[in-house]
Each structure stands twice: as C-alpha cells, then as structure tokens.
C-alpha cells in the first residue's frame, strides 16, 4: 500500500495552486488542489505530487521518527 510523507511547506504559489515542501535537504513542488487553508510553516502529508492533508508539527515529527527507525529516510 502507499505511504504519505509529512513535509514542511516553505513557499506557496497561489496562482498555480501549489507549494514547495521541504523534507531534510530535499525540496519538491506539490499540488494544493486537495487541501485547504495551507500556509507557510504548515506540515502536510504528501503523496505522488499532492498534499493530502495538514498534520501538526508534533505528528509530523513522530511519523518521520518512525520512518527513520525503519531505516527509510529521504
């Protein structure tokens, strides 16, 4: 099954309805078509180019720690 990764929003392009997210040293553009009220600094779950929903920073960190424990990191 598919995994979604939490990443921090560092920039938003409102016209294109997408955001730049950051995870570790990796930056990536994702669509914001499926999620509302995202602002810079928010954490979102991303999957196949889409931000799916917002998560708290605490939840994002806990999830990333779990991935790291499993040896999967960006």
């Amino acid at each position: 099954m598919c995994l979604a990764i939490p990443a921090k929003v560092i920039a938003i392009d409102e016209q294109a309805d997408n955001a730049t997210v950051e995870l570790g040293e990796v930056r990536k553009a994702v669509s914001l078509a499926l999620v509302e009220d995202v602002t810079v600094g928010d954490f979102v779950l991303i999957h196949v180019g889409y931000a799916l929903n917002k998560v708290s920073e605490e939840e994002a960190q806990r999830t990333l720690e779990l991935f790291a424990q499993a040896g999967v990191t960006p």
């Binding site: 099954m1 995994l3 979604a4 999957h47 779990l66 499993a70």
Partner: protein
C-alpha cells in the same frame, strides 16, 4: 523524497507495440519490521501514522489481526462500525481520485467546497462511529451517533449525485445494460461521464482478456503458513497463490454486476470496465452504509463472537481496501509483537507477471506519445494511487 518508494515500469517496444514489460519496485515493504518488539497497543497507534493512505483499511486489518492473535472477543457492532468506516474510506478514496485525476477530461472545475467535504469526511465518520475516540483499539466502547452517521451517508450520496452521476448513486447502480449506460454517457456532463465518453469514442486497443483471474478467497491458515516460511519476504514482494498470479481490486469485486459483464464483452479487462467498476463500487456505498446503519439500530442485543483459536498467538486480518484485498499478519507473545507482515494489493496487481504487466503487453498505438498516454491510463485504471515511473525502450 523517496521514502514512499515507487514502481518502475519499462516498456520494451517494437513498431509501437509492447513486446516486453519489466516491473521493479522500490517500495519499502520491510517497513512492518519496525513493529517487532512493540506492544500491540503501540502498533495500533503507529499503523495509521505510517500508512496514512487508506489508514482506515490498514487499521482495520491490523486490529483484526491483533485481536485474533491475542484471543480477544469483539462485539458484532464494533466489527460493523469498523467495516462502515472502511466503506466510507473507500468512497472517499474513489471520489478523491475521480475528482482529481479525471478532471482534465471535463470542463467542470474542481470545487473547493466539495474537496472540503471530502477532507473532513473520515474524521467526522470516525467521530460518528466511535464517539469516545477509540476507533481501531483492541476494545473500543460502543458509542455511535446514528444521526451523525446518517449525515455522513447523505454527504457521500450528495457528492456522488452532484459530481459523478448526475442521478442518485442508487439509481446509477441500477444501470444494467450497455444501452442504458451509453444513454447516461451521452446526456450527462459530470467528470466521470466526460472521461468515459472520451474513452468510448476513441478506438482503444487495450481490450481483450489479460489472462489474470480475480484473487479467490484464501484459507487464513494457509496464508499464515505461507507467511511463516523462510521466503515470506519474496511472497510479500511478489505474491502468487499456488503458482498462479491474481488480481484484486474494484473490477474483481464487481465482476458479477450485469453492466460489467456486458462491458467486458467488447472491452475485455480494459480501461473502461475498470473505471466503471470503480464507479459501481462508489455508487453502491451509500446504500450499503444505510443497510449497515439499520442493522446497528435494529437490535440492542450484545452478541459476542469468539475468534477462531486455531491460530495460536497469531492472527490474520483481511480487509477489502479501496485498491484491493489487504492482509495483515501479527504474531504476539505476552502482548508484544514478535512478527508483523503486510501483504498489500499493490503487490498482487504490480507483480512482475501480474495484471498491469499483462495489460501493458496488450497495448499498441500509432506513436510513442500515444502509447505512453495509454499506458498511464491503464496503470491508473488498475490502481490510481501508486507512484510509478514509466519508460519506453
């Protein structure tokens, strides 16, 4: 960002026909080993965090496996409420993919209101079914709000009506022959109708029998035995059953619907029957949820059901998720997980000789660009959720 991994699909072509398909996966299938040594309760907390796509189906399979492994009994109403949440998730997943992926074929713009409805659907449904906030724990309390569940069903029904079918989902589910289906296609301008009309009006070459059978019912004891063998990781990465490759997903679940039977005559196991099967499954969900809610409200007797105890200290949870059948196997001792494994539908469908491979082999096109488009459409019709890289050689 490669945590989620991806599937690499290479099409080896000659004269714009596909000769060979090579499928490799970098999906992190060993992730469940993280649960080894964890308490059962902790595992149940971690599952939806790690597997946040289809988190409800994942949690449902996990809690079934863990209850069975720990010999716990469960009230039938808990099981029914959990199944209802899986059904809501399936509706949400189908709606989400249709509204996001199929929108390029329609002039109907994606509405923020509709997306907002979807975004809160699962959390509202969980709250309605388990008001104490203890869904998918080993022993949740029975605390559902029937009126709130009814409201969830109405939201799904309304969204399906407005954005997908232009008639009620129950009415659409009654389309039983191809002529009625074509009449609906010709008069309707929703996202779903627009895409299917485009496909019908194009000459598609991706029809035919791909030679992959639907995954049959599997004996849980035999699945557990297979997963306890030394090469279980190979099975998880590329599952077969007694040497046979199978498919699992909306098409295999809707094979007995008369419309699918009719559409498979001209289109085989191609894109159109697959997309229609997803729509039929979506259309069936509001009525299914309504029946389940009636059962919940119909009796107050508490009936406990004892799980089979033949699988000592191990349990197998099986769930029909939006993408197909999902298995979780748990082995525990004194409440601590000793072994945990997940067999996901993606691995059946993207097996190196599986349904995606066979479907892609049936493709031909006038030029490479068209071949790529058809291949992408076909892969998305089998599983719209998996990230993949497609290469032509």
């Amino acid at each position: 960002m490669s945590i989620e991994g991806e599937i690499r699909i290479e099409l080896q072509c000659q004269d714009d026909r596909v000769n060979q398909v090579v499928i490799n996966s970098t999906r992190p299938l060993n992730l469940p080993k993280i649960f080894h040594g964890k308490a059962v309760d902790e595992l149940l907390t971690m599952i939806p965090m790690l597997y946040s796509i289809c988190a409800t189906a994942q949690s449902s399979a996990a809690v079934k496996a863990c209850r069975q492994a720990t010999g716990m009994t469960t009230d039938w109403r808990i099981q029914l409420l959990e199944q209802m949440l899986v059904n809501v998730e399936t509706a949400r997943e189908h709606l989400w993919r249709i509204m996001s992926d199929w929108s390029s074929h329609s002039e109907t713009a994606l509405s923020r209101d509709h997306l907002a409805t979807l975004a809160t659907l699962m959390s509202d449904a969980r709250q309605a079914c388990f008001q104490q906030g203890d869904s998918f724990t080993l022993q949740p309390s029975i605390s559902f709000d029937a009126a709130a569940i009814e409201s969830i069903i109405q939201r799904i029904d309304q969204l399906c009506h407005e954005k997908i079918f232009a008639v009620s989902p129950a009415e659409w589910y009654q389309l039983e022959d191809q002529q009625a289906f074509n009449r609906w296609l010709d008069k309707c301008d929703t996202l779903a109708a627009a895409l299917l009309r485009d496909l019908r009006d194009q000459t598609q070459s991706d029809s035919g029998d791909w030679g992959v059978e639907p995954l049959p019912s599997l004996d849980h004891r035999k699945v557990c035995r297979r997963l306890s063998e030394t090469d279980a990781d190979d099975f998880i990465a590329a599952p077969d059953w007694q040497g046979q490759i199978y498919e699992t997903g909306p098409l295999t679940r809707q094979l007995s619907h008369p419309l699918i039977e009719q559409l498979m005559r001209p289109y085989g196991q191609g894109v159109i029957p697959r997309l229609v099967a997803r729509l039929l499954e979506l259309a069936s969900i509001p009525a299914k949820l309504t029946r389940q809610l009636s059962r919940l409200k119909g009796t107050s007797d508490s009936i406990e059901r004892q799980h089979e105890s033949e699988l000592s200290q191990q349990g197998l949870g099986e769930v029909e998720a939006a993408r197909g059948r999902l298995f979780h196997r748990a082995v525990q001792q004194d409440g601590v997980i000793r072994q945990y494994q997940i067999v996901a539908p993606t691995e059946w469908n993207f097996h190196p000789r599986g349904v995606v491979c066979q479907g892609l082999k049936s493709l031909s096109a006038k030029h490479q660009k068209q071949l790529m488009q058809r291949a992408q459409l076909l892969i998305g019709a089998v599983d719209p959720c998996v990230g993949f890289q497609l290469e032509l050689r």
